[in-house]
Symmetry: C2
Subunit: 232 residues, 2 copies
Amino acid sequence: MTAAKTRARSGGRGRPSKATGLDLKETILDSAEGLFARHGFHGVTTRQVASEAGVDTALIHYYFGAKRELFDAVFLRRAEILNQARSVSMNAYVETFGERMTAEGVITAFIDPLLRISQEGGGGWKSYFALVAQVNNTPAWGGETMARFFDPVVHQLVDTLKIVRPDAEYRDLYWCYQFLTGSMMLALSETGRIDSLSEGLCHSSDLEAVRARLFAYCAAGFEAVIAKQNKA
Amino acid sequence: MTAAKTRARSGGRGRPSKATGLDLKETILDSAEGLFARHGFHGVTTRQVASEAGVDTALIHYYFGAKRELFDAVFLRRAEILNQARSVSMNAYVETFGERMTAEGVITAFIDPLLRISQEGGGGWKSYFALVAQVNNTPAWGGETMARFFDPVVHQLVDTLKIVRPDAEYRDLYWCYQFLTGSMMLALSETGRIDSLSEGLCHSSDLEAVRARLFAYCAAGFEAVIAKQNKA
DNA sequence: CACACTTTTCACCACCTGGTGAAAAAAGGC
DNA sequence: GCCTTTTTTCACCAGGTGGTGAAAAGTGTG
């Protein structure tokens, strides 16, 4: 179902059925998001985006400027929501549990908002996570892009973990974060690889199964690394 | 340093200095590998590959056919070496330790060959791992590509882990593999993100630091997931 | 040398790329 | 209604894309 069709059907409540202005801007972002997520930045043309959005090519440049700026707009739109959700979640956890915090609790507070949003937030989020996972694994410019949008909330995670385990070295906290984010992003991007690998036993869309395992996995890995490095 | 220059310098031992035939084929693969790793399949043009290899564009099509076939040739070249190294490593571990196998041992036997190869095998391998990490996170065709090249050795890992923990469900083994491979590929692709994130405390090129932490991390995570799921 | 065969170069094609400038259409204020 | 401003369309460009066919250069064999 193309966005153009969605847009055509969206009227019928007395208001004019044709999207305009800011609505159209969002429609373009939606189409761009899905395409970028599936094929990467270079695998998508502005004409494809325009076609799926039911819009003239020139309109994309009118609203967003160059192709890369469109990409950044896609990336930014949900990053802000994400960062706020994660920050709120971690703050709530800290305030609720205080001295009784655990590493698994902190890690859950960091990851779970993403799982919840992906489950409840509609299809756009799935595309978005696949997009972030791709950027996260892009050596050329992925590092800077990720840093620009996501560094603060990651530092919040690391600092909170440091409170839970004051004996841990920051070095180890950062390495554990990297391992964690690798697992998390791959799970969130739902590539379908585990479906065929497990011959139907697992489904990458089954985020409930992820929730039942990922938090425990990352927390135990974290504790083990801290223990081992402190012993050495 | 472009491959063209390397090639020009490579002579001087009595033999004709100009690479030819199969040598040239490898030169093209090297250039393609580096470029694909940095910019992805769609971010690279056959002309860029030809230019960096010091070769005419038409020669690429002469040797490899279409661009996608060139990509597959790049992917396949090292996949075979990788699969064999990992299979040998795991078989050796099984034969050496027999009944005394541990999950951490199996996981180490699965991952360590990649770290060693990346450290000792020269720059091409770093590019290759970055390439695999990118494919692994590509929803559009990454799943099939990964399956085509890497499924057997993954099944070997899962089956061996099943021997170590006969009580574990296959479902959980596959999920743990997914978490593991997410962490591992991100570490191997050396995106440089951890360098800036940790403000110089960690370096993604420091595979010794990865070795000191990743095995313990994945093994502990694995044990925790099995324990938790069996209890539930 | 001539010969067949492989490897490399050259010129080229049809099509697509991101992007632009001006005209046209809508929308809003009076 | 008119006039200004914003939004949308249209026609177009200069350059790049993957890919091809034929000619040329090189290589080995007799």
